[in-house]
């Protein structure tokens, strides 16, 4: 098209309106199209469609494993249009071994979901909530971003809450502004993460990395080579779909590993992979684990060498203060059995493992016992016979399992990665997690082939590593809306050691509802239905009164009812990535991914968005010289630096060109990593005795405690929560997928599951609708009973339980498939009241499955 034939469309209309069409039709008013060549000079070559483009990608956000794979893309070379079709595995990936899961495939189709948010939306009607029309209008995303920034400027830093995982950009942003960051990983990873921090990793350590892994997990499990595993609720339905773990678990089975599973629900994992299954009473795994400790201690089946060299078992504890003895350098002290005196633990050649002693330390006489001695004393009464009536598992079985577990050591372990039915997600689960760490330590499984593997040898830097700050960040809010300040243990880690640590998201709703601490809320919410978390009722009510609510998201999801702006995010496959293999860290390894396609929406990536906010609100932290000049934006090329530091490539582009994969195939050296990252490094150790618990009124070693919410009257069904293998957190990527909806319904996972005999007692038949309610003594604010179809199944192995499926029950009616699909389990779980929580959990993480509910026919 020659230039003279072009005409602005307004001029065309004006001209045509005034002089008639014939006169106006001398030029063409383009708006969305442009002429690449004159009409008729059409290309003679018609290149065929190709469906063989394969784009490197790494899974993110679907689970903690992060498989590497390729996305298979159909390409039209003529128009440049591309469409992803499916996934192909990468056999060289030590995690996935060429496998990928149904969620990864679901993500492919999510890119083309018709309900995907394509444009930025701005609210024009002030009234927020599910029953109000927001009066959305479309904005150019660049304009919407500028408006959001201007609005954010009107709030004080302490009034702003970013609901976001701790990625490099969010960390810099929240720290530079002085705003609170909180995220939804609390219930999923919190207990596990903080216990590991306190027992082993003491962040930041030399391998502390910024990655896409949601857990900042550094501990993996050597399923392939283990001979014995004990799973406390680890065999959830969600685990049934985690290809990155399953291929290892299948190899382990082939290699003859025995897995013992404790779970009130019998999942397909138990069908195929458990040599032994116990339908344990929910919330009593701690009793089994304590009895296992007692059995191993009593039978002297522990690994003395490991305990002495690589743990604090020989460390001395002052009986008056209950604190470990430490010298000026912070080193543990041991009792030397030869010299009969207190000596630094690393210099002592004959440390006592057991015993009570009196000696001189820092010029004073002290009465001390070893950590191991205290553990023995604390667990003496926790015999299998004591545990059996609590947990409904025969004492002889507990004893046998403990001895088998110890006999297989160090190629035996107890995993505890994530919550699920009867897993570590009730308020005494921090004790269970602690007990499991002790069991894995007693047998020397930590940092050993066939046991617990520790990440090592490679790191992806943080923004602060490549663009150091020129002056300290402002203080974080003294009274954050998530009450994290009430939990000194986690608060200390978050403020001083790892700003990416899981936030107290479970208290955000409570905080917003009961206080005025937050006035502006920014959801960095690309692939999750954040209101699927516990009791969203409070968050929903509180969001109505917020001065500003922004969501950066792939969908206009249920948060949208309360938003002032919704800004489109790219799909995870439309982003470049670099990842570590944290889930199975046997070898240092980097893997990269590149965008599968140009996003079909007017989106903005998070790095760009965060840096724009940062430049506007805290410019000195976002410019290389602190000037605030946007041209001097700090470098953000973390991937380039990471591949360079590993010696994998000069930059990430070259890395991808080389295949996007780097692995250091050196053999795993047992117990080396622990020394590098553990407490007391460079001779790092795992800690059994966590004195931080004493400082907040709890025991430094695990003791039995009942759940905070017991069975009372009609509220007698222990709430178990799991998730279909193809869902997560009411995420529209999956629940707005009509095929996955079919898969869910055909497998009754849109129902609540109870044992057939429980159904008989309640007069409920298969497919009946039922109402589930929480005890009003606990659900004091905004109760919202759940109404759902019932599936009677013996997979719920006990009459006193009800199994709910997490990840459905989205409220956003604008999503064609997800609307009115299933129920929302979170409605039954009361918001965390910090006062109640503090009485039960020093880290404030667990909570979800302590709940008991009533069930009646609707």
């Amino acid at each position: 098209m020659e230039e003279k034939f072009k005409i602005p469309r307004r001029s065309f209309l004006k001209l045509a309106g005034a002089t008639g069409i014939a006169t106006a039709m001398t030029a063409f008013p383009f708006r969305n199209m442009q002429a690449a060549w004159a009409f008729g000079d059409h290309p003679q070559e018609k290149p065929p469609y190709q469906i063989n483009k394969k784009v490197l990608q790494v899974c993110a956000r679907a689970c903690e494993i992060d498989c590497a794979y390729k996305v298979v893309v159909g390409v039209d070379p003529a128009t440049g249009l591309e469409r992803a079709l499916t996934i192909e595995g990468r056999p060289e990936d030590p995690i996935s071994h060429g496998k990928f899961c149904i969620k990864a495939m679901g993500f492919v189709d999510a890119m083309y979901n018709p309900d995907r948010l394509m444009v930025s939306l701005k609210r024009t009607n002030a009234k927020k909530g599910t029953d109000s029309d927001p009066g959305w209008v479309v904005m150019k995303t660049s304009d919407a971003v500028n408006e959001v920034i201007e609005r954010l400027k009107t709030f004080k830093p302490q009034e702003i809450l970013f609901c976001s995982p701790g990625d490099p950009y969010t960390n810099r942003l929240c720290q530079s502004i002085g705003a609170t960051r909180s995220d939804q990983r609390t219930e999923c990873f919190g207990t596990h993460y903080y216990t590991n921090c306190l027992a082993i990793t003491n962040p930041p350590n030399k391998f502390y990395s910024s990655t896409y892994t949601p857990s900042h997990q550094i501990v993996g499990y050597d399923y392939d080579n283990a001979k014995y595993q004990v799973w406390f609720g680890f065999d959830s339905f969600s685990k049934c779909g985690k290809a990155g773990a399953l291929n290892h678990i299948a190899r382990g089975k082939k290699n003859g590993c025995k897995i013992v599973m404790f779970n009130p629900v019998r999942t397909p994992m138990a069908d195929g992979y458990a040599k032994e299954f116990h339908a344990i009473k929910p919330g009593t795994d701690l009793a089994v684990s304590l009895a296992m400790i007692q059995t191993i201690m009593a039978g002297k089946k522990y690994n003395v060498d490991f305990l002495k060299k690589y743990s604090d078992a020989t460390a001395l504890v002052n009986l008056d203060t209950k604190m470990p003895l430490k010298d000026a350098n912070g080193n543990f002290q041991a009792w030397c059995t030869k010299d009969k005196k207190v000596e630094p633990i690393d210099e002592c050649h004959a440390p006592a493992l057991e015993g009570a002693f009196q000696g001189e330390f820092n010029g004073e006489q002290v009465k001390v016992k070893t950590v191991f001695q205290l553990l023995r004393e604390d667990t003496t009464t926790y015999t299998p016979a004591w545990a059996a009536p609590l947990c409904d598992v025969p004492a002889k079985d507990i004893k046998r399992i403990a001895l088998e577990f110890a006999a297989a050591a160090p190629r035996s372990f107890i995993p505890t990665l994530k919550r699920d039915a009867a897993g570590p997600n009730y308020s005494n689960s921090w004790r269970l997690r602690h007990a499991i760490n002790i069991l894995n330590s007693l047998t020397g499984a930590i940092d050993h082939d066939g046991g617990i593997l520790l990440h090592h040898g490679v790191k992806i830097p943080w923004l602060d590593d490549i663009a150091p700050i020129r002056e300290p960040y402002p203080e974080q809010p003294a009274e954050p809306v998530d009450f994290r300040n009430e939990f000194p243990i986690t608060d200390n880690i978050y403020r001083k050691k790892d700003f990416s640590a899981p936030g107290h998201y479970g208290m955000v709703g409570f905080g917003m509802y009961k206080t005025n601490r937050a006035k502006a809320v920014f959801f960095r919410n690309p692939h999750r239905g954040l209101l699927s978390m516990i009791q969203p009722q409070m968050a929903e009510a509180a969001l109505e009164k917020m001065g500003l609510v922004v969501d950066w998201n792939l969908y206009l999801d249920d948060v949208g009812y309360w938003c002032d702006y919704v800004i489109p995010a790219p799909h995870q496959y439309e982003e470049a990535k670099l990842d570590l293999r944290l889930y199975y860290p046997k070898n240092p390894c980097l893997v990269g991914g590149v965008p599968v396609q140009k996003s079909p929406s007017d989106q903005i990536g998070w790095g760009s968005f965060a840096s724009k906010i940062g430049l506007a609100l805290a410019p000195k932290y976002w410019t290389t010289d602190g000037s605030g000049d946007p041209k001097k934006l700090i470098p953000m090329n973390l991937s380039d630096v990471a591949v360079q530091q590993a010696g994998a490539a000069q930059n990430s582009a070259e890395f991808i060109k080389k295949g996007g994969f780097w692995i250091d195939n050196k053999p795993y050296v047992d117990y080396k990593q622990l020394q590098e990252i553990g407490y007391g490094r460079p001779n790092g150790r795992v800690r059994l005795y966590i004195h931080e618990f004493i400082e907040v009124g709890f025991d430094p070693l695990p003791k039995w405690a009942a759940r905070w919410q017991g069975s009372e009257g009609k509220f007698k069904f222990s709430l178990l929560i799991t998730r279909a293998a193809w869902h997560m957190h009411a995420d529209p990527n999956f629940i707005n997928n009509p095929v996955l909806k079919q898969v869910t319904e055909k497998n009754f996972m849109d129902c609540v599951w109870i044992h057939p005999e429980a159904g008989k007692d309640l007069g409920i038949a298969e497919g009946d609708l039922a109402i589930l309610e929480n005890n009003p003594d606990y659900m004091k604010d905004l109760p919202r009973p759940v109404k759902a179809k019932v599936h009677l199944t013996k997979r719920v192995a006990r009459k006193d339980c009800v199994l709910l499926f997490h990840g459905i029950g989205h409220r956003a009616k604008n999503l064609k498939v997800a609307a009115n699909f299933g129920y929302r389990d979170g409605d039954l779980i009361p918001q965390k009241d910090p006062k109640l929580l503090k009485k039960n959990d020093p880290m404030g993480m667990g909570w979800v499955e302590d709940v008991h509910v009533s069930i009646r026919k609707a």
Partner: protein
């Protein structure tokens, strides 16, 4: 009017109508509201639909539309906001989504599917591509309407120049666009808009789309 002139008038009217449809189903902006309020939009529409022998009821609705935009006394900003809200509600945020803008959603249930590729190929065959500023999939209804207008425009040019090859090429392309894309997708789209639009403008333009596409069926 001789046959040649009559044919050109008809082609011009079709080009104009599709152009107006494209203007209408893009996100509304000040250009659109100003041309509506100034009466330019409706004047072109009246002339083109008159040439194409549209029925009386459509023409009477056109008079109503003229009253709303050039005679109501409402300020342009208010009128534009009404249109923006209606457009966003229908196409981007309704509960559930009332109308989808993209052909592949109607035909394959998802974005960026085979029909998207096929229509993009036709743009390519006509020597066109999308401007960088247009970030949505290419099977957007407004782009397909714009494409039809462009094909009519080139057919006129070819007829005037006596370029038989280009004339045939343009005619065949637009037939393909209509038969394989717009007749099914465009009609389904327009019927949904007729049912769900809150403003008279969108209802009316959907009616125009139905008239045009049915006539060409």
């Amino acid at each position: 009017m001789d046959n040649g002139n009559k044919r050109i008038t008809e082609l011009q009217s079709n080009a104009a109508i599709f152009n107006l449809l494209a203007q209408a189903f893009n996100y509304p902006d000040t250009d659109l509201i100003e041309s509506l309020c100034a009466g330019d939009f409706t004047r072109v529409l009246r002339e083109a639909s008159g040439n194409l022998n549209f029925t009386g009821s459509l023409l009477s609705q056109l008079a109503d539309l003229e009253k709303i935009y050039s005679g109501s006394g409402k300020v342009k900003e208010t009128l534009l906001l009404e249109m923006e809200k209606d457009y966003t509600h229908m196409f981007f945020s309704s509960k559930p989504r009332l109308v989808y803008l993209f052909e592949s959603v109607y035909k394959e249930g998802k974005l960026l599917q085979d029909s998207t590729f096929e229509i993009a190929r036709l743009y390519y065959d006509a020597g066109l591509n999308l401007v960088d500023d247009f970030k949505l999939p290419p099977d957007h209804i407004a782009v397909e309407f714009e494409f039809m207008s462009y094909l009519y425009f080139n057919e006129i040019a070819a007829v005037k120049k006596g370029n038989r090859e280009n004339e045939d090429y343009a005619r065949n392309l637009r037939k393909e666009v209509l038969e394989k894309h717009l007749v099914t997708f465009g009609l389904a789209f327009a019927q949904k808009v007729t049912m769900n639009a809150g403003t008279e403008f969108y209802k009316f333009m959907a009616g125009i789309a139905i008239a045009v596409l049915s006539g060409n069926r």
